[in-house]
Amino acid sequence: MKETTAALNQLRPQSAIQAEQTRAFIRGLEQDAETYWDMVQVGDELSRDLHMTPELIILYADGVEDFNPWYEAWRMNSWHIPGESPFGGAIVPPLLVSHFILSVQFDHTRPFAIGSIHTYHDSEILAPIPVGATVRITTRAVDKYEKRGRRYVRHEADVVDADTGTHYFHETRDILSL
């Protein structure tokens, strides 16, 4: 182990049992995994619905330390609240749905190889998403290409309201596959 890795481990201290739990978790992730490149064929279209619950929004926002009150429909001590934003109630952070496209563009029921990298996104934010909405994320594999010896998978994605059909979001994105 490099000295720098040892130092980095100090950022995430673990006891012996925690270290073994970590290794077991990683072994589980690696079982029977396929690369994105092998899992995807151009033309593949997949779709899933996701409920924008207040708790989901808080988990996302806390991870990037974005404490804008517009996103809060859950607050400690009060719990569920309507929230407030320029659009009335609480709304979803502008790029939140982009983060969940990965869960749709590859068959989530099959383990995929860890180690691929998201490299690019072109995101159009068309309308605010109210917290509490259920969105339908639809992805289409539009290209697989190689550049400088690396393999990329390109998808287009649309996010609409599952109940009203309101078009909230469109994105083109690339993943560098193993």
Binding site: L8, L11, R12, P94, T119, I125, L126
Partner: protein, 148 residues
Amino acid sequence: MNQRADSEFPSVRITRDTPVGYELQPVKKRAVIQLMGSRLWGRFNPNHWDPDYADSTGLDAPIQTGEMSSAYIAEMCVNHFGADLFRNARIVCKYIASTLANEVITTHGVVSAKTPEGDGYRFKVEVWCDNEAGEKKTVGWVEVSVGG
């Protein structure tokens, strides 16, 4: 109605009068390994949170998901564009280098163009993130319609 970006920080709000060259105020974040590896973010890939695993795959350290730096850029833009960022806006980001655990990331933005559109303007902002050494990690641009 909560108008945080409009009323609490009125001096940073981009209006139809904002000139080309205006610099957005940055947001600054440490790449905290526990946040990088939280369930909703990078837990599914130990390259995002486990130093030993990252070392075994040739990385110098666990790396953030690029989407975290995109979220930082979006936060900076909400501070300046408020509600306008949630309607007919565009954010384009390219991840040109990895953000490593424990680095401090700063966002940047400069208004590069404003084009008349209806009664207002379509603003274009060049955006990027860099670390303490000034090494760029994410580059891109944002377009937002203001005052239309």
